[in-house]
């Protein structure tokens, strides 16, 4: 039997700078599944991603999250990653003086643990192979991590890291923003090639287009810091066609963002 990963988010509340953003999020992602989270700007989607990964600015105030049954929130950021959680960030940081390839090798080795490090040559072969698949120029291996990368290049570099690190659960935060049409296709193919029973996906996106390439099993809509509606892929199509107003009307929501007085 395959070792099926599971990310379980239950009643998650989180705040940033003393302001409550997440107000009870419930989602469970298992291996083999693709979940999409959509929702207007400023409704807490990235906050959910950052809180799950453990960014120090975001404080979980109630509820919880587990990965494979273990308390995710009790783990440090790097432990979460080593348990198999991956976050492709909406705004990846630039780190000067650290080469992309070295960084990824350090990350892979951290995942494998002391004594199990991947041989340098083997790593570089694998890296080159993945870079080719994602149409990333070989020179990017030696460039400083994300420094001076274009928006689209950064996104591709996130997916490259995911391909090299082979996480069990990946959260992709607006991986499609800034990608041209060809790149979107390439990135989607890269993501799809990882799909299988040992890989679960949570995709945050504004656009149905990405979901045509990476077909979701479930679509969730986030407003006011919680999931207000879930459905199949047809929900995404409906949102694309009709926008969010009909849903707000149905739910009686006037301001969908996480406004302080809400």
């Amino acid at each position: 039997m395959a070792n099926i990963p599971e990310l379980k988010i239950s009643g998650l509340h989180a705040e940033v700078a003393g302001k409550e953003i997440l107000r009870g999020v419930n989602v469970t992602v298992r291996g083999g599944e693709v979940h999409a989270i959509m929702g207007p700007n400023g409704t807490g989607k990235s906050t959910l991603a950052s809180s799950l990964m453990g960014h120090p600015k975001y404080a979980v105030t109630a509820g919880g999250a587990t990965i494979d049954g273990e308390d995710l929130l009790a783990m440090s950021v790097d432990e979460r990653a080593r348990k198999g959680l991956f976050l492709a960030m909406q705004y990846p940081s630039e780190v000067s003086g650290v080469s992309n390839a070295n960084f990824m090798r350090m990350a892979v080795n951290a995942r494998l643990g002391a004594g199990n490090e991947v041989p340098v040559l083997k790593f570089h072969r694998e890296l080159q192979r993945q870079m080719k698949t994602l149409s990333i120029d070989a020179s990017f291996a030696e460039r400083y991590l994300n420094e001076g990368f274009s928006g689209g290049e950064k996104k591709r570099n996130e997916i490259l890291q995911m391909a090299v690190l082979r996480p069990r659960i990946a959260i992709l935060d607006e991986i499609d923003s800034g990608l041209d049409i060809d790149a979107l296709r390439i990135v989607a193919d890269g993501v799809n090639s990882l799909r299988g029973p040992e890989f679960g996906l949570l995709i945050i996106t504004h656009y149905q287009r990405l979901l045509q390439y990476i077909v979701p099993d479930r679509v969730h809509v986030m407003m006011q810091g919680r999931i207000v509606r879930s459905g199949g892929r047809e929900l995404a199509m409906e949102l694309e066609a009709r926008g969010y107003d009909w849903l707000k009307d149905e739910l009686g929501i006037v301001d969908e963002t996480v406004s302080v007085n809400a």
């Binding site: 440090s76 990653a81 940081s93 780190v95 960084f103 990350a107």
Partner: protein, 431 residues
């Protein structure tokens, strides 16, 4: 402050030392004049450093007698690579103890020898340049070192000669309390090219020690000189260092400076860009730990038209270290078309450390370009989160960020073993 001053003069009977040196008249004259200045001048004052609280009397008129002939090697071992073949002079406690590979230079007409030797062998060259870049009356400690300088190196590159390899000085102090007064004179004749590395290291157990170091450089027309200098004296040392170049027409001077000691340091480095189209760059790295005090000034003075300078500095402070980094770009009247750029970034790794970056642009000319970027801060939280989110531990992630931060300067150090030595210091300080 005055009591310190009087005490040092009262206890300094340097004439017997000077008289016994057997130097030609001009050299003795240079020392005696400086000695007189030392007696007259008040204790050197610096805006951000108070030497009256340091033991500036931690020296004697004459250097220490060497009792253990291999003591220097134990201190310097990690700075030496037995595989290296480039010319090297080692000076320990003021005397030359080891010389390697200087013969090959003579074939090109290049002189690389101890300054004491040069004073006798090449008196004309030395007399012409000694004290012309760093004047003995700059402050009382420079005067003191001009009077008592123990030794150092003299490098002369003749016209249009390009040195095939870098040359190196390793200065070692094993015993504190005698004064480390190393003096170097580098003269690159027009069209020549040379690269020089000097490292200053001392026993970790060193007692109170006054170090005053002077390096004077003359970069002739169209000549190119690169100097990499690393200072790593321990906690009880008080270090006052001046490394300065005069750069003539179309000459180029590149400084790489590593201040990595845990002592109390006031250091200035930079260039007087006298010639039209002269150029100077500087890359400095400061690594402070413990209670290190670093008062560093990069000083670029534009005198010639179309002269250019570019200064880059990176500082990393740990423990209770404190650093002041001053980037001084002075464009004098007449230096039309000059361009002076500087960028300094300081990183504080601990809550007890302090760092200050002070860009100073003094501009007396209209038609010039000048720019600066300065930042002081802690490790960027988002960068740390990003690296950790890929499974890298906090400690390793911080190390990567710091290494990346200093990389642009480290990469400039021209000899592997020197770069290694600085890297080792960084590793040690981050542990």
């Amino acid at each position: 402050m005055n009591t310190v001053k009087e005490a040092s003069v009262a206890s300094l009977d340097a004439e017997p030392y000077i008289a016994a040196l057997q130097e030609p008249g001009f050299a003795l004259e240079f020392r005696r004049r400086a000695l007189a200045l030392y007696a007259q001048l008040p204790l050197a004052r610096f805006e951000k450093s108070d030497l009256s609280r340091r033991n500036v009397r931690a020296f004697k008129a004459a250097p220490a007698a060497i009792e253990d002939p291999s003591a220097w090697f134990r201190v310097a071992e990690s700075h030496l690579n037995p595989q290296d073949e480039h010319p090297l002079i080692v000076i320990a406690d003021g005397s030359v103890v080891h010389v390697r590979g200087v013969e090959q230079l003579a074939l090109q007409g290049v002189v690389f020898c101890s300054l004491r030797e040069a004073v006798n062998k090449y008196p004309d060259l030395v007399q012409k340049h000694l004290g012309t870049v760093v004047s003995s009356d700059e402050n009382n400690l420079i005067a003191l070192q001009s009077a008592l300088w123990r030794d150092g190196v003299f490098l002369y590159a003749p016209k249009n000669v390009e040195l095939a390899q870098p040359v190196q000085l390793l200065a070692v102090t094993t015993k504190g309390g005698y004064g480390t007064f190393v003096r170097n004179l580098i003269v690159a004749d027009s069209g020549s090219q040379a690269s020089f590395l000097d490292s200053y290291v001392a026993a970790a157990t060193l007692e109170d020690e006054l170090q005053v170091g002077v390096t004077e450089v003359v970069v002739g027309d169209g000549a190119r000189v690169k100097i990499g200098t690393v200072q790593d004296f321990p906690r009880k040392a008080t270090n006052v260092l001046v490394r300065r170049a005069r750069v003539l027409r179309s000459g180029q001077m590149n400084w790489v400076v590593g201040e990595v000691g845990d002592g109390y340091t006031v250091a200035e480095f930079g260039s007087l860009l006298e010639g039209e189209g002269s150029v100077s760059t500087s890359h400095a790295i400061a690594l402070g730990a413990g209670r290190a005090h670093m008062d560093l000034t990069s000083r670029m003075v534009h005198i010639g038209r179309f002269s250019e300078s570019d200064t880059t500095a990176r500082g990393v402070m740990q423990g209770k270290a404190n650093a002041v980094y001053r980037g001084l770009t002075h464009i004098r009247k007449g230096a039309g078309g000059a361009n002076g750029q500087q960028s300094e970034k300081l990183l504080m790794l601990s809550p007890g450390s302090r760092a200050d970056a002070i860009p100073m642009l003094l501009i007396d000319e209209n038609d010039v370009k000048c720019g600066h970027a300065a930042s002081v801060g802690q490790i960027n939280e988002d960068q740390l989160f990003y690296l950790m989110s890929r499974g890298i531990s906090e400690a390793a992630a911080k190390r990567m960020i710091v290494w990346g931060f200093v990389d642009p300067v480290l990469a400039e150090l021209p000899i592997d073993i020197v770069r290694k030595a600085v890297e080792n210091v960084l590793e040690r300080k981050m542990a």
